[in-house]
């Protein structure tokens, strides 16, 4: 009897110790409820729509998870998203071929990332204010160069990136996002590099004493986040055949929320990309599901907020149970 209880406790502890479980419960529950009310939710085309929405969050959400694990943050993601798309489309409109245009967009993101990393890490200024300042400055650059107008001129080949489907059904962006997420999860869980990020976020001083180049790691990950934010902007420009000047506005908070819901600690040292995938999908399911079950538009924001709070509460409860077990 005693042994059985011990085994059960051990299984429970194993299950509850997974950060992702806290997101999985509300996600599955929500999917079941929405499907019961409107079976159209589970149609392949709707699932693809949900994944497509989630994919844009995930492309930047995966590297952002690593940044959060390293106990850093970035509020300039949305602005860099707009900048990446705008730079790419300006280049394309000027006759630059597709691949170099994409590289120009990514380079714009990298430049912002390098500048941001230098101020935060080398000048030791707080990431919150620095990235907020960069958000304003980059939004300003986008407004000045575009006069607030979208930048069109996408070529047919370029449109395939954001609009194309594999086997005529699965959006290419979903595949891109999944590949990126898998790569980042592998880096995080299977490599020395990933483990060093946990150490940097957990206790930077100990990490430094253990020989981990803390500053270098933080800089690298800041640049990577900006590059992937720019990539998100490029894919959005491809999806809409034009770069929208407000593309990505507010994305930073949505993506951070997705990562935190997925079990990543805002204070660093723990988290997983799998959790962020579930967090991104959960957010996409909520916005899609509320429309599908015909919730009055005036009530949608309230319900959205409540579901998010419940998800966080479930995760907290899970942690408590996990510790107790």
């Amino acid at each position: 009897m005693g042994e059985n209880t011990k085994t059960n406790d051990s299984i429970l502890k194993k299950i509850l110790s997974k950060n992702e479980i806290g997101t999985l419960f509300p996600l599955v529950f929500l999917c079941v409820v929405v499907t019961i009310i409107n079976p159209n939710f589970m149609t392949f085309s709707n699932i693809m729509d949900v994944f497509r929405t989630a994919s844009y969050y995930l492309i930047v959400g995966a590297p952002l998870t690593l940044l959060l694990i390293a106990a850093d943050m970035d509020l300039s993601i949305g602005a860099v998203t707009a900048l990446g798309g705008v730079c790419c489309m300006f280049a394309m409109r000027a006759g630059v071929p597709m691949v170099p245009s994409i590289l120009i967009g990514l380079a714009a993101g990298a430049l912002i990332g390098i500048f941001k990393a230098w101020i935060i890490v080398d000048c030791e200024l707080p990431a919150l204010i620095v990235t907020l300042g960069i958000q304003y400055a980059v939004n300003g650059i986008v407004s000045i160069t575009t006069r607030g107008l979208s930048v069109s001129g996408a070529t047919k080949a370029f449109k395939v990136l954001g609009q194309g489907r594999i086997f005529g059904r699965i959006y290419l962006t979903v595949i891109i996002a999944l590949i990126i997420a898998i790569i980042y999860q592998l880096i995080l869980s299977k490599t020395k590099y990933g483990r060093s990020l946990f150490a940097v976020g957990g206790n930077p001083e100990t990490a430094r004493l253990a020989g981990i180049p803390v500053k270098k790691r933080r800089k690298e990950i800041h640049v990577i986040v900006s590059v992937f934010a720019a990539l998100t902007g490029i894919l959005m420009a491809s999806r809409f055949s034009s770069a929208q000047t407000n593309a990505g506005a507010g994305t930073e908070l949505t993506v951070m929320a997705a990562a935190i819901i997925g079990g990543t600690s805002l204070f660093g040292g723990s988290g997983s990309v799998i959790g962020s995938i579930l967090g991104c999908v959960l957010l996409a399911v909520i916005s899609n599901g509320l429309v599908l079950i015909k919730v009055d538009s005036f009530w949608q924001n309230l319900i959205f907020g409540i579901i998010l709070l419940i998800s966080v509460a479930i995760d907290k409860y899970r942690q408590k149970l996990s510790n107790a077990a």
Partner: protein, 352 residues
């Protein structure tokens, strides 16, 4: 330490470059310190403005956003009218779009600096009561664009009449339902995707739209949604609505940023013949979707006229003329055959 010194030097240089760049976009008449804005100092300030005031006036346009299809056109109209009259002026807006408190702060600055006239956009009339009362006390004429408060607080307003706009959208839908292309449609299930559900004028438009549609189709299903000026959200909402309401056959866009997202989704899913699609505004991108037949038409608000006419209203007020409080700037329904004509009009105004 070395890095911080370098950062200080770099940021100082960037600030200087920004200020030089900012100054080069307009003249040197700058009596205020706006969050973002453009000075306008016409090349012929001595031009006869025909006003009883007999001297150049400094007009402040306190807007909700700088640039973009709509307010970029209003700014151009404002600047053209100032240039014609030989007046000076400044177009300003808060750093964050649609920041109503930021608009009030800028209005306060305009009143304190004794602007000769104020043109503004008031999204929340309650917030503006105090500052507009101060403008009244200082005898500064106030004209609002596309929004309004009360006759006690301002002289007049010009913009798209919300009720007329809603009726125009409804009648455009009803006319399309009678067309050969959509003759098989025997019901109306329409979604109306606007900026936010808190936008007062858009809610008035939606109400008028619903009332007109219900007159012809009493059993019509009408759904109101918001897209927060985000093309991706607009597209995702339409995708979900199509699953939720499989008989959806009308989509009306009421947001210039969301409209391309809707059009893009319709094009990618080949829904051109399954939906009646009404766009909004007249950006080249939206006009392109109309000319390709992705959108049946777009309804353009005349923002250029709002900016342009507002300046002349200030002049009329200063000349002692009595103006009607409500002034409808009208709407233009642009169908595929009228796209080129409209583009020519925009080009003649120096837009795009």
């Amino acid at each position: 330490m070395k890095a911080r010194k370098l950062l200080a030097v770099l940021l100082t240089m960037l600030l200087i470059v920004s200020l030089v760049g900012c100054g080069s976009t307009g003249g040197n008449n700058n009596s205020t310190n706006p969050s973002s804005g453009t000075n306008t100092n016409p090349s012929n300030p001595a031009a006869d403005n025909g006003s009883n005031t007999g001297e150049s006036q400094n007009i402040m346009f306190v807007s909700i956003v700088t640039g973009g299809v709509a307010w970029g056109s209003a700014q151009k109209g404002f600047e053209d009218a100032l240039s014609e009259l030989g007046w000076t002026g400044q177009y300003v807006s808060p750093t964050k779009a649609n920041d109503t408190a930021g608009v009030i702060d800028l209005l306060d600055t305009a009143v304190t600096n004794k602007a000769d006239g104020i043109i503004t956009v008031i999204l929340n009339p309650d917030q503006a009561t105090d500052v507009l009362s101060k403008a009244r006390a200082a005898n500064i004429p106030v004209v609002t664009c596309n929004t309004f408060t009360t006759e006690e607080l301002q002289d007049c307003w010009i913009g798209t009449d919300p009720t007329n706009m809603g009726i125009t959208q409804a009648e455009t839908v009803l006319n399309l339902l009678k067309s050969e292309k959509y003759s098989s449609f025997d019901h109306v299930t329409a979604c109306y995707i606007q900026t936010t559900l808190q936008t007062q004028t858009q809610n008035q438009q939606y109400k008028a739209f619903c009332e007109r549609i219900k007159q012809e189709y009493p059993n019509a299903t009408l759904i109101q949604e918001e897209c927060n000026s985000d093309a991706a959200i607009a597209a995702d909402k339409l995708a979900a609505l199509l699953k939720s309401y499989p008989d959806l056959n009308v989509v009306v866009s009421q947001d210039g940023y969301g409209c391309p997202g809707i059009a893009n989704y319709i094009e990618s899913e080949n829904l051109q013949d399954k939906l009646i699609k009404i766009g909004i505004d007249d950006s080249p991108e939206i006009l392109d979707y109309v000319s390709q037949g992705v959108l049946d038409c777009t309804i353009a608000q005349d923002f250029y006229k709002m900016g342009y006419q507002s300046v002349y209203y200030i002049k009329d007020i200063k000349d002692g003329k009595k103006l009607p409080f409500d002034n409808d700037s009208g709407t233009i329904v642009i169908t595929p055959d009228k796209v080129q004509e409209h583009l020519d009009l925009l080009k003649s105004r120096g837009l795009y």
